[in-house]
Symmetry: C2
Subunit: 342 residues, 2 copies
Amino acid sequence: VTRFVLVAGTTETARIEGISAAGADPDLVAHTPSADAELIEYGHLVRAPTVPVSPTGCPTPAAVTRAVREQVGFETLVVDAGLAEPTGAPTVEVGAKPGRDIREADPVPTAPGAWVAARELGRALPDDELVVGETIPGGTTTALGVCRALGGEGSQPPRGDGDAGEFPVSSSLPENPVDLKRRVIDDAFEASDLDPGAAAYRPKLAVRFLGDPALAVVAGLVAGALESGTDVILGGGTQMFAAAALVRHAGVADPLTVATTTYVAADTDLDSAAAALDCELVVTDPGFAGRDDPLARYAAGEAKEGAGMGGALSLAERSGSLGSVADGTLEVVERVNGSYGP
Amino acid sequence: VTRFVLVAGTTETARIEGISAAGADPDLVAHTPSADAELIEYGHLVRAPTVPVSPTGCPTPAAVTRAVREQVGFETLVVDAGLAEPTGAPTVEVGAKPGRDIREADPVPTAPGAWVAARELGRALPDDELVVGETIPGGTTTALGVCRALGGEGSQPPRGDGDAGEFPVSSSLPENPVDLKRRVIDDAFEASDLDPGAAAYRPKLAVRFLGDPALAVVAGLVAGALESGTDVILGGGTQMFAAAALVRHAGVADPLTVATTTYVAADTDLDSAAAALDCELVVTDPGFAGRDDPLARYAAGEAKEGAGMGGALSLAERSGSLGSVADGTLEVVERVNGSYGP
């Protein structure tokens, strides 16, 4: 059995202006993970107010994941990694609470406990294979913070200077606000009284002070699943490379796959990042380029990834249904919204 | 789409000695709903310690529901109606907390709020059909209490004397401890300063003072689902008749089906109860009689129902797979326990 696990959480880091495109309206950003969970679980909204879209109307990658689910039929599990708004999707608890702004002194105090509980959950799940995705606005910023706290590319010895090196930092915005992200992370190191690289081989420290609850839960869950002999595909971009780095820094050396989209791969050098983390890399092209509908925005560099989209696409490719994902995604968005326009 | 909804909760009423057979060891009774949810969701245990069995080794009806799910393939949803022990099954929250002993003054203060939230959830679920089951130890006692508080058989005008009349009171024990149940309920009326029949047409009052959180959630969910045009099958015995009475007393008159097992039907006059509540009745025989394995205990009057078993069996019958439910159930129990013996 293959199970798709969505790790869904929030932080106040996402409220920093200019950090995230996960939601057209800033007031709706905190609803995005709750809505993504409902879309994947039901193909409809239940308690969430709207289908998340980027400011220009690009629909959430959760619609892509749902479309693949309707074709492939995998089992699902949503893990609450600090949801801040109600969701009608059933969730498993691991003790995670919403993260605060990483520029505070102790932004994610629930991270170590959530890691431990998620690891036990990952060990206990009976499935043969897990595909793990995340939905947490602002997540690429905290992922970069975690990577710098670990001291570089993950499985390699930390470099001492704390440079994130070749770590692939993508963004849900077409113009990646890298300078803003770096400033926020510099402030976070200062607030936590930590130096870059200081959390090497202490991954729980990295997520607690520079990260977010979703990264803690993904890393713990994956570590536990690998330890119990379950195959794991990390479905996503930047954040899943950070999760892989956390897993490697936790001393788990089992084979691990990262599956992402061509849109993330266009941003960054994923091959060397995957090699540094001893991960297999799968890149899938959903074929959204050149379409005359909102999905074309993915090819223009928006959204790119999230909600396990890359992992779901790898399952679609494996089952031979990749060609119908685009139409299926629009069908999901139209079913829920009444239209798929922005 | 047909979705199976398991409403899972606990009360301290179940701790009254002699009330419930839901768990061989009294210390494990509070784990039963958590374990039932995991069995139906995963076909395995994740966080719960053991497969619930009656004192003589009769496996939980959740194993039957799971076996049907493996054959029929329906979607699932677990609603937390006051779980007291951890479950690895994902759950939706409606604000329910574990119920206290109904012999206390205000045993289920979360019932009215949970009813309202469950009603909204029931309205919002996108499915064509819901099959609703419950798992709450001690639930037949609180079901009888609710029925007496409503004043009789439900849709009929309350009789004034508060007699539960023909209300079908089954039990998970072969010797139904009816006298004990009645004494407990008499004490509950006294503690709540309510008279039998006093909660007629005020169903939230009945569940709050004489009932349990699972009944509140089932009734609210069903009322909401019916109001939004979703077909509903109540899968179960005594408790589902009480839930139907609550729905009728809430003024919801839509068609409603109760699906149960021949083992409950052997206890009581279900036809007149169903007629009084204006419900269609479906009785399914899973064919456990005469077997030389623990399932034969069902035919001897143990367990009988629970965890939506009757509803699941009706789906098995509809899909033509009823004949393989018994072997499938033993397979589930053996997979989890390593054996199916007591």
